[in-house]
């Protein structure tokens, strides 16, 4: 399980993460993924870089909790969540949710729920570098 939910500085491979989750069962027939990436604009400003900070231990606990609740509340077989912290360049990966189920609808629903829940409950903060300097982001759409 610890491999399936991680916070790390280094980039991740979507293929590897999907394989890791899919290894849970031969009954998996659908895998939905959500990939969050670093875009170059925010509220009309040009962004040149991002940085993420987390509350160690608590953030990992919240991600593990999201996986547990997803497994309990949706008809999915396995879920993986990886979030990067530290400096992230434009275009790079930030977060990946992988939800695996027998049929597609359950995977789609669990994946959408998990990223929304992550944004709501996980102590991770983003700062954006703009021409005005580095600014902490206080709200996420």
């Amino acid at each position: 399980m610890s491999d399936l939910v991680r916070i790390q500085e280094k980039d991740f491979s979507i293929d590897e993460e999907v394989r890791r989750v899919s290894a849970a069962s031969k009954g998996i027939g659908a895998v939905a993924t959500f990939l969050g990436a670093a875009r170059d604009f925010s509220k009309g400003e040009t962004i040149t870089g991002l940085s993420f900070e987390h509350y160690p231990v608590m953030a990992e606990k919240k991600l593990a909790d999201i996986r547990e609740r997803a497994l309990g509340n949706f008809n999915i077989i396995e879920m993986g969540i990886v979030h990067r912290v530290g400096k992230i360049d434009i275009g790079e990966n930030i977060v990946l949710i992988v939800a695996a189920s027998a049929h597609r609808n359950d995977a789609f629903m669990a994946c959408e729920w998990a990223i929304t829940e992550l944004k709501r409950t996980t102590p991770i903060w983003k700062s954006e570098t703009t021409s005005k300097g580095e600014v902490w982001v206080s709200e996420t759409p």
Binding site: W125, S138, E139, T140
Partner: protein, 82 residues
Amino acid sequence: MVTVRFFAMLKGLAKTEIKEYDIKAPVKLDELKSLVKRDFPALEGLLESRSVLVSINQEFAGKDAVVKDGDEVGFLPPFSGG
């Protein structure tokens, strides 16, 4: 000793990440908040707003929570992960 941790914009405003308080007997979270506001006036507005959550030992804490010796209290500005 109670360890208070600030994150993101709170850390910037407080100009520190950690502040320790010599608290022996349990105190209400509100009392600890008052000490923090006294020591870090720049945080006053944010600590009074509902958008800043509080954790005790890495779990979310309600406003009636009690803080005791050895606890770690986190002041958590609005999350922006994902």
